[in-house]
Symmetry: C3
Subunit: 435 residues, 3 copies
């Protein structure tokens, strides 16, 4: 890595106000992908502990924060575009493309006014580029391959460099063979904190990247050609019940930043609390213009920032309100068995086909299917059940884009750990009293 640093340091004086970019030679880039080391003298990424950082880091459940090194006043980051195996939930590993071993890629965090440099090494099987969605930058840094820069060839490194003149919630994603590369997960958050730490402060700050995938049951690789008929819906490339819950103490102010790079709107719904939509990927919405909501429809290629006061303790669902998006993989063209008395049909069928086993399922709804899955009903390889989640009162019967905000009176300020299920104050209050 020394060699790269020397090169960059040596080039430092040459860097103009407009930014500069580099491609390292192929042999250097072909060394195994490494996280940029935090050597002595480099400035480490801020710790998450309050008071040790000029800003409160954003928590992106399931993704890491990208470290940087400070080089002559420039914060230098390194993204490695590469194939990634991502465990969406225990029992399902997906062949994705991403950055630094992850999809979404690691979160870039910086501060308004920073000058930053991002080295992008291409370890993919094809060329790539990165667009910095929402950021003001020189045209040559915009990352639209073919239009504002050449595609980054396989095995080479490209350097983006610009000064952050704004603050807010942004994204980075591929802009080369864009449909395929985004469909496989090449995306991440780019958070620019305000220089003024008193600007709209919050106690908890979360971010989720929404994505849809078409992964045939029994297989491992998403089909990037699918436009509407997806079967897997993720938040930070995780699906319920593997999406970590958010936590907050009663009375705290919570911010959630939700980005969407799938192919359809996702109306994100919060239970028990009203929020205000306070920002987009275009910046912060003035107080006078904010809408109250319990569901915010996050458009494709856009971000919605919501804020609310954690008023009531409990386990409050936060999920996409399109009901198929809170399900595991299913066949949306399945035959409709509702109301069909299959038990009556079975003997007749078996008279013709002695070995035939009709699954008497769906006649009375699908609520019992989770029980069947629990009873060991075989699922295809690498395939999650349609409905899952063992809650304190039975199956939650969800999947996909579903998680929770766990609000507690005694939640510690820095606790990120799931504090377990909510114990209702009166114990039995959530249990029906049998007559």
């Amino acid at each position: 890595m020394l060699r790269r640093r020397q090169l960059l340091n040596g080039a430092g004086g040459w860097l103009g106000a407009m930014g500069a970019l580099f491609a390292l030679n192929k042999s250097a880039a072909q060394t195994p992908p490494q996280k940029p080391a935090t050597a002595a003298g480099d400035v480490p990424a801020p710790s998450r502990a309050r008071g040790k950082s000029p800003y409160r880091p954003v928590r992106v459940p399931g993704a890491k924060t990208l470290p940087y090194t400070l080089k002559n006043g420039v914060k230098e980051f390194h993204l490695i575009a590469e194939t990634v195996k991502r465990e969406f939930a225990p029992g399902m590993v997906v062949n994705c493309w991403g950055y630094n071993g992850s999809t979404p890629g690691p979160t870039i965090e910086a501060v308004e006014g920073d000058r930053i440099r991002i080295l992008v090494s291409n370890q993919l099987p094809e060329k790539t580029s990165i667009h910095w969605h929402g950021l003001f930058l020189p045209n040559g840094m915009d990352g639209v391959a073919g239009l504002t820069q050449p595609h980054i060839p396989v095995g080479e490194t490209f350097a983006y460099e610009f000064t952050l003149t704004q603050h807010g919630t942004f994204m980075y994603h591929s802009h080369s063979d864009e449909m395929l590369q985004m469909a496989l997960g090449m995306m991440g958050f780019f958070i620019v904190h305000p220089r003024d730490p008193e600007f709209r402060p919050v106690d908890r700050d979360y971010a989720f990247m929404l994505m849809s995938w078409d992964i045939n049951p029994g297989t491992y690789t998403p089909n990037p050609a699918t436009m509407t008929d997806f079967n897997t819906w993720s938040m930070n490339s995780l699906v319920f019940p593997a999406i970590p819950a958010m936590v907050a103490r009663t009375g705290e102010r919570v911010r959630i930043r939700v980005a969407n790079l799938s192919m359809t709107n996702h109306p994100m719904h919060l239970h028990g609390h009203r929020f205000f939509v306070t920002g987009t990927d275009g910046g912060w919405i003035a107080d006078s213009a904010q809408w109250p909501a319990v569901t915010t429809d996050v458009p494709v290629g856009a971000i919605r920032v919501i804020e609310f006061d954690a008023a009531l303790p409990g386990d409050w669902a936060f999920h996409c309100h399109k009901s198929h998006h809170t399900m595991g993989p299913m066949n949306h063209a399945a035959a409709n068995m509702l109301g069909v008395r299959q038990n009556d049909v079975m003997p007749k069928v078996q008279k013709l086909l002695p070995d035939y086993m009709v699954m008497p399922m769906g006649s009375d709804g699908m609520g019992d299917m989770t029980d069947m899955a629990g009873m060991g009903m075989a699922l295809p390889e690498n395939t999650l059940p349609m409905m899952a989640g063992d809650g304190p009162f039975g199956s939650i019967e969800m999947g996909g884009m579903f998680t929770m905000v766990k609000i507690r009176d005694d939640q510690r300020p820095d606790d990120e750990t799931d504090p377990g299920w909510y114990r209702h104050p009166r114990g039995s209050v959530a249990h029906p009293v049998r007559g």
Copy 2:
């Protein structure tokens, strides 16, 4: 029913500030579903007449208002979850699930500050629960089966109880086997009127619940597994031309509250009038933040409240602007006959297949298909035509999510009846003058 009341009264003293819930025994719940009787001493639901109610009731065309009884200061409602046969329009009856014999279920109306109890009896073939979408309530009342309460077993009753600390437009819907139960119609409005009767008063207050269904032509039961390829689009589980028109007098202020629990956005368009979006399921939008519009895109799992002044007399269309959503059932994958001169082809086909009858349809558009339907062209059993509606000037060629606001100079304040087609002031003004 006495037994249930006694039980509830007896339990009244035990009820804490947090609310309480009950399940009545199975034998009681298995008696045929009944509307809660309005016995002597109970407070009847407010009449719709102006001045007799502390609030102006909302009109939900095609659905009833749920009555309540007052028990020690608690307004007690009773919802019975059950299978429902719903006539979407004359000629089409659908096997749905709903509440109290209807989908959408009856509208719950209450006032900010009320303490309410809602008994939910499960007469479905599978377990259920109800989520009170948008309402602030104790976590144990939130209705997410498995997470905040056990599923309500078949034949049992669950009691939700909480105090209304807000006002606005909300929903209730199933949160157990949620995808299937919502796809079959388990939803309703929950209107909380402000304590202050002068808060944003309007003269007419309507509400519509949008839903999509996949009902194969010739069948009666929606397919709950369908995600995108629906063929029936309803407002309050009715389709044009069976959706009652709204009415208003010229100069009156009209509010329409539109909720969406389907699987895609519905952009609702009003003709001839600009409205403002004044509220969501998260509450009322401040004057400073309201957008003018003639189309409001209602996201899934969300509500948009719009308000406008009925400025001009006439029959003004109000409909979803996705053109397939204002059509009756059709085959979206139909072969494209546009511009194909089928009459020329027919003799050649008949030479090969003497009995073959080519329907020379669609060569020049579909506008004549309504006439064909009118001419007695056979439709499959229980299936509506693709385009319908006999207007004053011919076929309106619509279906699905299409209705009207009928504005008249002489509309009576309490009239809910369709006042007939609009007579243009000059009689012939809407008729072309042949040259």
Copy 3:
């Protein structure tokens, strides 16, 4: 044409405040469609030159402005509904329906307070009507065939007449056999300029109409029955790279008005600049209510007006952010070859099928497909490549709803011409330096 004018003039005295309409006789309408002549004494449409018009005309790339003649103080326009052959891009001609030889039809521009008359001659193979989307007008002028007027028969002319009492961005489109006629392109812009020329002035004012089409590769006629599985995505019925770029000088204020009459939302994203959403088809949004954004989700049947200051020179992409909508025609249900080593499979397949040629494509992504197309890979007749666009740094790999705003320091005020690719100030700045 004299005869029509005489008729109109003769009828002038009869015209009431409410407006009037006419159908000219069939023989007159059957004369070949003509643009209304600008005879001596008529007032020509304003030239585009600054200072010669009471308003700055809107530029609708790919569509013309509809001229008018002034008749006794009434601006008279003439739309001819007819079949249209539209070249979406070189190599693809589509059988559409539209107005005056074009889809979108010519832009109607008028000024608040104007009294206007629009003659609509029906040269289509079936009946039609026009709805004036967003405009306040007498109910008989609203254009809903069957409801507010009779369908306009083939070969006849209908006269719409009303006074413009508002200003803003509106549309006109068919409201007869609406789904089919809109699916084929029967739509156009209707811009009403404010009487006050100082109302929110801008330096550049563009408008785009978004549409989706399902045109089978190798064919020419869109399938109007398609609801979700489209394959062609257009702006003003043009697709990238044939959509003219917008131009602006650094520091100018730019307005873009985007209307959507397709079947799904289109989130329009602008690179490098934040904009504000300043208006809808319902009028102008108050300053206090405007949201900052870099992506605005344009709902179906709605308009979003955005405004921004052209801050930075360069070629800034402006496109729908649904990645399939910036692609040429493709098979969304294609088999997934990603990661499949087809070269290994080919010999085995050829042993069984000696003539079989496996196309080793998609194993490593799709980025090389544009090169293949460039290498002369055969496309079906009348079919565009999936990815196209030769930029200054290679293939832009886009299609469909993709264009640019070209911002230059020296852009001339009235220049509409594509000023070529942006030359980065430092020449090599967008080129990687090989290590």
